[in-house]
C-alpha cells in the first residue's frame, strides 16, 4: 500500500529451551516417568515387555475413546454418552451375532449403532444450539444404557470369543506387541496429524476459541460439530468391537465410567474443557499416565475405590497446577 513505514514483521518463531521445558507436555513426561519408576519399584516383573503390553492393552479401549473425545473438548463441547454408546454397541454386536451366527453382520451392526448414537447427539446439539452438551449427552448416556438393559435384561450375550480371529483382536500379538496396540498407534497418529496439520484441525481450534469469529471466517461450525459427534460415535462402536473380543460376555453394565475416564485423560493431557486449547501429544501421554497409574496401584493390591481416590486427587492437583503457577507468578510480579 501507498505509505509504508517499511516495518517488517518476523515470521519465524524463536524457540528456546526454556519454552520447551515450560510446556505442559514436559510436565506430563515427568509424571509419566515417575509413574513408571513407581510401578517398576512395586513389581520386578513390571518392565517385562509381555507384562507391560498386557497392562497397556487393559486401558486401550478407553484410550481409543479418548482420541475423539479430545476433538469434542477442543470444540468446547463434551460427550458424557460414550460409555452408554460402547455398552449399547457391544450389546448389538452380541445380539446380532447370536441371531445370525454371522460375526461380520454383528460387527457391521455394532459400528452402525455407534454411528447412530453419535449422530443423535450431534443432531440434537446442532439443531438446538441453545442446549448444553453436558445435559444432552448425560441424557443420551442413560438412554443408550437403558436400551441395552431393555435388550439384555439381567442376562448377557456373548459367544463371539469362540471365533478364534475375533478374540485375537484383543488377545493376539506380534511378538510381545498386541494387535490392538498397533491399531491404537495408527489411530493416534492419524488423529494427531488431523488435529495439528490439517485445515479441519485448525478450524476445530477456531471454533473452540470463538464460535462467532469462526462462523464469520466462513467455517461451517455446526457441520463440523455434527461430524465430530458422529465420529465419536463411530469410534465408540469401533472400540466396542475390541471390547467384545476382550470380554467374552456383554452385560448392560459394561463400559461404565468410560466417559469420565476418557475426559479425565484429555483434561490431564492439557485439553481445556473450555475449548480451543491443548495438544494431541499431551492427551496421548495422559492416556498412558492414567492407564499405567491405575495398573500400578492395582499391583500393590489397592482396591478399586482407593485407586479412584488417588486418580481423582491427581487430576485435581494437575488441573490446578497452571492456576497455582500463575498465582505465584503474579505474586512475584507484585513484589
Amino acid at each position: 500500500m501507498a505509505t509504508k513505514s517499511g516495518r517488517t514483521i518476523a515470521h519465524v518463531k524463536e524457540r528456546s529451551l526454556k519454552d520447551l521445558l515450560l510446556r505442559w507436555e514436559s510436565l506430563l513426561v515427568l509424571i509419566f516417568i515417575a509413574v513408571n519408576i513407581m510401578n517398576a519399584s512395586f513389581s520386578p516383573y513390571y518392565l517385562d515387555a509381555y507384562n507391560l503390553f498386557t497392562s497397556i492393552n487393559g486401558f486401550l479401549v478407553k484410550g481409543m475413546i479418548a482420541l475423539p473425545m479430545a476433538y469434542i473438548l477442543l470444540l468446547g463441547d463434551i460427550d458424557l454418552s460414550v460409555g452408554g454408546n460402547v455398552c449399547l454397541s457391544a450389546t448389538v454386536l452380541g445380539i446380532v451375532y447370536n441371531a445370525t451366527n454371522n460375526i461380520w453382520l454383528g460387527i457391521a451392526a455394532c459400528l452402525a449403532t455407534g454411528i447412530l448414537c453419535g449422530a443423535l447427539n450431534g443432531l440434537i446439539l446442532t439443531k438446538f444450539t441453545e442446549l448444553a452438551p453436558m445435559i444432552v449427552t448425560l441424557a443420551t448416556n442413560i438412554l443408550f444404557r437403558g436400551l441395552s438393559e431393555r435388550i439384555l435384561g439381567d442376562g448377557s450375550t456373548g459367544g463371539m470369543q469362540s471365533i478364534d480371529w475375533f478374540s485375537k483382536l484383543y488377545y493376539g500379538r506380534v511378538g510381545p506387541v498386541p494387535y490392538m496396540f498397533i491399531v491404537f498407534c495408527v489411530m493416534a497418529v492419524v488423529f494427531g496429524l488431523v488435529m495439528h496439520k490439517t485445515v479441519f484441525g485448525r478450524q476445530m481450534y477456531a471454533i473452540g476459541e470463538n464460535k462467532r469469529a469462526a462462523a464469520y471466517a466462513g467455517i461451517k461450525v455446526e457441520k463440523i460439530r455434527m461430524f465430530v459427534f458422529t465420529l465419536t460415535g463411530f469410534i465408540c462402536g469401533f472400540a466396542a468391537v475390541f471390547y467384545c473380543a476382550c470380554l467374552g460376555s456383554v452385560k448392560s453394565n459394561v463400559a461404565e465410567g468410560f466417559d469420565l475416564e476418557a475426559i479425565s485423560m484429555c483434561v490431564l493431557g492439557g485439553i481445556s474443557t473450555a475449548g480451543g486449547k491443548g495438544t494431541f501429544l499431551g492427551a496421548i501421554i495422559a492416556i498412558f499416565i492414567i492407564g499405567l497409574l491405575r495398573y500400578g496401584l492395582g499391583l500393590i493390591n489397592l482396591s478399586g475405590q482407593t485407586i479412584r481416590i488417588v486418580i481423582g486427587a491427581l487430576l485435581i492437583a494437575v488441573v490446578l497446577f497452571p492456576t497455582i503457577r500463575d498465582l505465584i507468578k503474579n505474586r512475584k510480579a507484585k513484589k
Binding site: 500500500m1 501507498a2 505509505t3 509504508k4 513505514s5 516495518r7 517488517t8 514483521i9 518476523a10 515470521h11 519465524v12 518463531k13 496429524l193 496439520k197 490439517t198 485445515v199 485448525r202 478450524q203 477456531a206 476459541e209 470463538n210 462467532r212 469469529a213 469462526a214 462462523a215 464469520y216 471466517a217 466462513g218 467455517i219 461451517k220 480451543g276
Partner: protein, 509 residues
C-alpha cells in the same frame, strides 16, 4: 430563576486515547424536563455515567442543590436521590416485578426479607404509574415499555428526585412512547426533575422545556425548546469543521457488482434496496437503531433473510451462511472485531490465514512455512504494528487489530468488501492509515460498502451515501450533493415527520 437542583461545570472525562467529554456543562432546574441531544458518540452516555458515579471525571465539579458532591459509585448517586434508566433495560427476567424493583435495597427486618411489604409497596408504585400489570408478574414476560415502567418504579422506590432517562424511546412504539410521555409529565408535575436523552425531535417537543446539545465531546449550547427551529438544532448537532484529511483517490467507477432488492428481515428492516459498483465506496449511515449492521449481516448470511433478492454481477444468488457469501466473493469486516473479527488468543498470522486455509494446503497438510510467509506479507501490506506474526491479536491496539482484520480479508479473493464501522475505537493515526487502505482497495477494483456513524468519514470517503432510519432507506445522496445537514435530516426523517405532525396537532388544539 430557580437555583438549579443539579449543576455540572467543566466536566472532562478522558478514556485511553480519547477525550469523551471536554469541559462540558449542564444544569437542571427543579421540576424540569431537560432534553440532552447529540449525534452518536457526542458523549451523552458518558456524561450520564459521570453523573451516576460509574465513571469518575478527570476535571470539573458537580453541585447538588448548590453543594459540591462526588459519587464514587452508583449506590452513592442513588442515595443522593439520582436514578438512571438506561437504554438497554438491565433487569432480571426470571424474577418478579417487585423483586426487580427492590434489587439492591430489599426491605429487611431482623435479617428477614419483608416480602409482603415489598409487594404492597411495588403495587402502590405501579398503580401510581397506572401500570397494567402487577408486582407479581415475571419481568421477562413484560414488554420493553412495561419493563421501563418497572425501572421507573424502581427509581421512585429509591425516592429519586432526579431521574435520568437514556434513550428510553429507542425501542418503543409510538403508542408506548406516548405512555412514557404521560408518566414523565406526571413525575415532573410531582416535582421530579428529569434529564431526557434522545435523538428524536418528537420526544423533545413533547416533553422538554429546554434542550442542551453536545457535539464531539463538547458542550454546544442550551436552548429553550420553543425558541429554536429544527434546522438550527440540526446545525448545532452537526456543525463541525471537517478538517481531517481523507485520502480518497479518484477512481473510475465500473460495472455493478452487488445489488440488493427489497431486503426484509422481520422486526429489523424492510424494503432495503441499493447497489454498489466496482471501485466505488458506498457509505451506509444512520443513527443508532437504523439497522445498518443488521442489513449487512443479512447480506453476509450471518442472519436470516425474510424476503428480498441479492444479485452479484447481475445474477441472483442465494446466501444461507457466511461461507456462501465468502465463496461468492463477499467479505464482511464486522463492527465487533474483538468478538466476530478476530480470535484474540491467536497470533495475528493464524488470524489472517483462517478464512483461506485451503490455499496453504500442500498434499494433505497445511504448509506452515507458506502460511507464515503469506500472512507476514499481508500483515506488512496493511502496515500492522507488530513484532512478529506470532504476536497475539489481543496485544495489538484497536487500529492495528482492524488492520489485521483487513489483511484477513485481503487474503481472500473478494469482490465486495463490507466494512462495518472500520474506524470505531481506532486512534487518529491509525484511522488515516485505514482510510488510505480503503482508497487503495477501491483503486484495485473492490466494491466497498462502508457503514459508519461518523459524519466526516462518510462525507470524506464515500462516492455515494445511503441513509437509513429505523430499518428503512430514507435517501441516497451523491458525493457532490451530500452535506452534514442533509444526511442528518434523512437519518432523522421519520422522527422529524412525526414531530411535525405533532406540532400541527398541538397547533390545532
Amino acid at each position: 430563576m430557580d437555583q438549579p437542583i443539579l449543576e455540572l461545570r467543566g466536566i472532562t472525562k478522558i478514556f485511553p486515547g480519547v477525550k469523551a467529554l471536554d469541559q462540558v456543562q449542564f444544569d437542571l432546574r427543579p421540576g424540569e424536563i431537560h432534553a440532552l441531544m447529540g449525534e452518536n458518540g457526542a458523549g451523552k452516555s458518558t456524561f450520564i455515567k459521570v453523573i451516576m458515579g460509574v465513571h469518575q471525571a478527570e476535571e470539573g465539579e458537580m453541585l447538588l442543590n448548590g453543594k459540591p458532591v462526588h459519587f464514587k459509585n452508583t449506590r452513592e448517586a442513588q442515595k443522593a436521590g439520582i436514578a438512571a434508566i438506561y437504554q438497554h433495560v438491565t433487569s432480571y427476567p426470571h424474577l418478579t416485578v417487585a423483586e426487580n424493583i427492590f434489587t439492591g435495597h430489599l426491605k429487611v427486618r431482623f435479617g428477614i426479607v419483608q416480602w409482603k411489604a415489598m409487594y404492597e409497596e411495588a403495587d402502590r408504585l405501579l398503580q401510581e404509574l397506572s401500570a397494567d400489570f402487577d408486582s407479581h408478574a415475571l419481568m421477562g414476560n413484560l414488554s420493553v415499555a412495561q419493563q421501563q415502567m418497572v425501572e421507573i418504579a424502581k427509581a421512585l422506590s429509591l425516592n429519586a428526585k432526579i431521574i435520568i432517562m437514556d434513550e428510553p424511546t429507542a425501542a418503543l412504539t409510538k403508542r408506548e412512547s406516548e405512555e412514557l410521555y404521560r408518566i414523565a409529565l406526571k413525575l415532573r408535575d410531582e416535582g421530579v426533575a428529569i434529564i431526557f436523552i434522545s435523538h428524536r425531535f418528537e420526544d423533545m417537543y413533547a416533553l422538554a422545556s429546554r434542550v442542551t446539545v453536545f457535539r464531539d465531546a463538547h458542550y454546544i449550547g442550551t436552548y429553550d425548546v420553543d425558541g429554536i427551529t429544527n434546522a438550527d438544532l440540526i446545525k448545532a448537532m452537526v456543525g463541525r469543521e471537517i478538517n481531517e484529511l481523507f485520502p480518497k483517490p479518484e477512481v473510475e467507477i465500473g460495472e455493478e457488482i452487488l445489488r440488493v432488492e427489497n431486503l426484509c428481515r422481520t422486526g429489523y428492516f424492510k424494503d432495503v434496496s441499493f447497489a454498489v459498483n466496482k471501485g466505488e465506496i458506498v457509505g451506509l449511515t444512520g443513527l443508532v437503531g437504523a439497522r445498518r449492521t443488521e442489513v449487512v449481516q443479512t447480506i453476509f448470511g450471518a442472519e436470516k433473510l425474510t424476503s428480498g433478492k441479492i444479485y452479484l454481477e447481475g445474477k441472483e444468488v442465494k446466501i444461507k451462511c457466511p461461507s456462501d457469501a465468502m465463496k461468492l466473493g463477499i467479505g464482511l469486516l464486522p463492527e465487533n472485531r474483538q468478538i466476530e473479527g478476530l480470535i484474540l488468543d491467536w497470533g495475528i498470522g493464524q488470524n489472517i490465514t483462517l478464512t483461506e486455509l485451503k490455499k496453504y494446503v500442500r498434499g494433505l497438510f497445511i504448509n506452515e512455512k507458506l502460511e507464515h510467509i503469506t500472512s507476514k506479507d499481508l500483515a506488512e501490506q496493511v502496515d500492522t504494528k507488530a513484532v512478529s506474526i506470532f504476536d497475539k491479536a489481543s496485544s495489538l491496539s484497536g487500529g492495528n487489530q482492524q488492520k489485521v482484520v483487513v489483511a484477513k480479508a485481503l487474503g481472500s479473493d473478494f469482490k465486495v468488501l463490507i466494512l462495518d464501522e472500520p474506524t470505531k475505537g481506532v486512534d487518529v493515526g491509525a484511522k488515516a492509515a485505514i482510510y488510505e487502505i480503503m482508497g487503495e482497495l477501491a483503486k484495485e477494483g473492490y466494491a466497498i460498502i462502508m457503514i459508519s456513524s461518523e459524519m466526516p468519514e462518510i462525507l470524506g470517503m464515500s462516492d455515494r451515501i445511503i441513509v437509513m432510519c429505523e430499518g428503512r432507506v430514507t435517501g441516497e445522496l451523491s458525493r457532490e450533493e451530500a452535506t452534514q445537514e442533509k444526511i442528518l435530516e434523512l437519518a432523522m426523517a421519520k422522527h422529524i415527520a412525526a414531530a411535525e405532525e405533532r406540532k400541527v396537532q398541538t397547533g390545532e388544539e
